[in-house]
Amino acid sequence: MAHATTTVQDQETKLIEELGYDDHFHEHEHGDKYKSNFITKYIFSQDHKIIARQFLITGIIWAIIGAAMSVIFRLQLGFPDESLAWLQPLLGKWIEIDAATGVGKLSQEFYYALVTMHGTIIVFFVLTAGLSGTFSNLLIPFQIGARDMASPFLNMLSYWFFFLAGVVMFFSLFLSTGPFAGGWVAYPPLSALPQASDGSGAGMTLWLISLTLFVVSVGLGGINYITTVLNLRTKGMNMWRMPLTVWAFFITAIIALLSFPVLVSGFLLLMFDRGLGTSFYLNEIFIGGQALDHIGGSPILYQHLFWFLGHPEVYIIILPAMGLVSEVLSTHCRKPIFGYKAMVYSILAIAFLSFIVWAHHMFMAGVNPFISNFFVIFTLIIAVPSAVKVFNWISTMYKANIRYNSASLFAIGFVSMFISGGLTGIFLGNSAIDIQMHDTYFVVAHFHIVMGVAAFFGMFAGIYHWFPKMYGRFMNETLGRIHFWGTLIGAYAIFWPMHYLGMAGVPRRYYRFDSFEYLRPFEDMNQFITIAAIITFGLQILFVVNFFYSIWKGKKMTTKNPWGATTIEWTTPIEPIHGNWPGKLPAVQRWPYDYGKDGREFIPQIEPIGPNETEVH
């Protein structure tokens, strides 16, 4: 067995040496190119592999913070009458203790701050930077056969702008007026006027600065991803030979580059309204006992600008996850991804449509109802490419020979989540049904399953699958499987009941449900959701322990290509080196999904098409 794998590896090395492309990289770079010391190697690193790990670990830290926040506000929703005094050492004045009874209550202001921060952190810091940032950096150069990103320096800046954005956001948590508390969408006038909410003062200022820095990070990363994919593909790697991961990252970067700047323009106008007395979003407001001078603006303008990013943003989150899942599923099914070209075209279709559906978030915002007709049509068209993707994933599993491990489990879980959450989008995208469903728990259930849980599942599949590529070791399988089953069941236990809450008309972003008679019967359900959330959160700690434990103590990787994958990242040495390949760059001879072809378990991309073989296009 060991002997056989060595010969395979020798053969691969020989193939690269014979057919590969000599870019004379190592001739010019004697020894250590950057003369790296600890700081340039691990901190201000320009190596895509290190930057990927930086994005990932920063993302994991933010995920813990963001998820812990949700546990705290779930405690409030599930057990509104229990004392939260025990949280006072952590939250300080935000737990208001009744002097007479000693009962501690989560302050209303801080409840909304937690809800807001949870959304902002998970959407931007975890599922945008932590997911796309990690895997675009790791996999684009590896899978297209590049030495590094097109601009390693901009790539480094991209991470550090993200880091800075995180620092600013983190500081805002400690303001005496609290962090921003007006919802992650930050609709003015609530977000524009400090009189409207404590968090709309300094908290909002820091929020805006943080996210502007974040957009800089996304821009620098995006330019790099696009340039690298277009210019640095190795010999033979034409666009139709790129793995679906690279396709997904490439298209994601284009979407991000086109949409995030619009968000910044929206933010700029908001900053002007806040600081310079302009009235882009403000009109005829009486607040805090005072009639403001702002006249002539429209809060709906902000909503258009926000959702022009906001909707593509959900695809910026989910497309990389889709790419990762396609790759992981195919590799572990030992079967080509079904309908490779259809998968690419559906990514393109989704990316295009993502720019013309934004106002479906605004059906009930007071826009002309006639306009909504267009947005309903385009929104529901998205169901078609999404359905194609789902059917293709399921067909990939048909007559497969599935190797079960944490990565493939999470990939299958992703498909289930994407189906469940995607189907509820058909309700919400239809404006007539949205009249009732808008801003209820039905929406919360929908987007948490389809872009929250599903994207996390895609990310977990990617982490378990490429962990050996990142650290030369494996994550613990048993813990990974417990993590998967617990999270699958837990996530459904949290979000499935929310559909029923939404149908019953329970509005989202409520601090308590006892002000209304019609909201009272849901006490048990809310308790159940909270308990499920706490348990599921606990299981994620298991993942974190597994992750950090395995970095140093995990089972060592002994062969270059442990999964028997066709793609070229698995032809690089186990110990990562600068420039990825020691000699020549591998030349690519075929598409990336030759699994189970002609009686062979897999044929690496670097192997030429045999004389009697027909190439798959």
């Binding site: 609530l190 409207a196 005829e284 399921i394 079960y404 019953a504 322990v545």
Partner: protein, 387 residues
């Protein structure tokens, strides 16, 4: 503090135990041969997949039946407006189509996961694509979407349309403010008077312009009272930040935007009393309304329609409640006759009355407004108050 330490301690303990289990299984795999262990894992995970499918589907159907009464158009959760049943039926058609797709795709997904678990010496089939299949499953969703889009848009344009020129309707106004709703009725003249946000004071919360005669008979009730079967046009405004006018039982929702009045037109079809009678058929509404007092009235008797806020507006967002009462035409008239003009009761003759000492049109001395005439809702008159 003690419990906190205990929780942290036990969590750490659990983590240590689990890590040890992980280590042991890794060792066992080494001893027994990785390939054999992988096949065993495949078998176990495949069986789990099947078990999950069965349990998941069972729970989905069980919960759908158990919570049927929360779903649109079922049991007590029936729409109380004329457009509601159409939306509920749209919801249920969508539920039907998505339900079929949900069940079939999940059965395929988890059955394949079970059936095609990795076996020894077996090779996966090489099936890169099948154009015919792919065209079919592009076309089917497209056709279903067409059906849903067309029905949805017909309903949407019907529901969202404004009142016609010769419709008979009642116009009322709801204004969202941090953190309450102000309601305003046009009074006997059927016209909502002019407002200017610069005129807002403590005693004039809506900034009504008292020099506009149409304002003199407007009144601000505590409850939203409407007659059954009459078309209502709610003019929705906001004073400070965004709010959203949400009547869950009537399938009505529309954001309240400062500086830009919006509207929603609907017709209540059930009086509060009729709705209560329907609720009385359901066991969950037989429970006492006060959980601490078993002798209190059953829930169905104390039921009220409610107005809520559905757009985050600040820390008191969750508490913006108003009671909505749907009554018969006669009850409505009687109620109207009891309502007193806000100007007459609160402003007239006070220091902040711009018409202090002035005679109002058609009177010699300030008197209370009389009961409304039959024609409170003339379309031509009310449309002038719009915008």
């Amino acid at each position: 503090m003690k419990t906190g330490l205990l929780i942290i301690g036990s969590l750490l303990l659990i983590i240590v135990v689990v890590v040890q289990i992980g280590k042991i299984t890794e060792l066992a795999a080494k001893i027994r041969g990785e390939e054999e262990v992988q096949i065993e894992t495949n078998n176990r995970m495949g069986r789990f997949m099947m078990a999950f499918l069965i349990a998941f589907m069972a729970l989905v159907f069980w919960s759908a039946i158990k919570y049927k009464n929360y779903m649109l158009g079922y049991g007590p959760h029936e729409a109380a407006s004329s457009h509601g049943p159409e939306l509920d039926s749209m919801f249920n058609w969508t539920l039907f189509f998505t339900g079929v797709v949900f069940v079939l795709t999940h059965i395929a997904l988890f059955y394949f996961a079970y059936k095609y678990k990795g076996r020894k010496g077996v090779q996966a089939a090489f099936l890169p694509h099948d154009n015919k299949l792919e065209i079919i499953w592009t076309a089917i969703p497209a056709v279903v979407m067409c059906f849903l889009v067309i029905r949805g848009l017909v309903a949407w344009n019907e529901v969202m349309g404004d009142v016609g020129a010769d419709d008979e309707y009642i116009e009322v106004e709801a204004t969202g403010a941090q953190f309450l709703w102000y309601l305003r009725y046009p009074g006997p003249d059927g016209i909502l008077g002019e407002r200017n946000y610069k005129l807002i004071t403590g005693s004039n919360p809506l900034g009504q312009d008292w020099t506009d005669d149409a304002n003199l008979d407007d009144f601000q009730p505590t409850d939203l009272v409407l007659p059954v079967g009459k078309k209502v046009r709610v003019r929705i405004t906001a004073r400070d930040v965004l709010h959203s006018f949400f009547l869950p039982h009537f399938r009505v929702k529309m954001d309240a935007v400062p500086g830009m009045p919006t509207y929603f037109v609907f017709t209540p079809t059930k009086t509060t009393e009729e709705y209560r009678q329907e609720l009385s058929k359901y066991p969950e509404y037989q429970l006492p309304s006060d959980p601490n007092d078993p002798e209190s009235e059953p829930l169905w008797k104390t039921f009220n329609f409610e107005l809520a806020c559905a757009e985050l507006c600040g820390k008191g967002h969750f508490s913006m409640r108003k009671v909505v009462r749907i009554v018969t035409e006669e009850e409505y008239k009687a109620w109207l006759s009891e309502q007193q003009s806000y100007y007459m009761t609160t402003i007239r003759g006070k220091d902040d009355d711009p018409r202090k000492g002035e005679l109002l049109p058609g009177e010699s001395a300030p008197t209370e407004e009389a009961a409304p005439a039959e024609e409170t809702t003339n379309a031509e008159e009310t449309t002038t108050s719009d915008e």
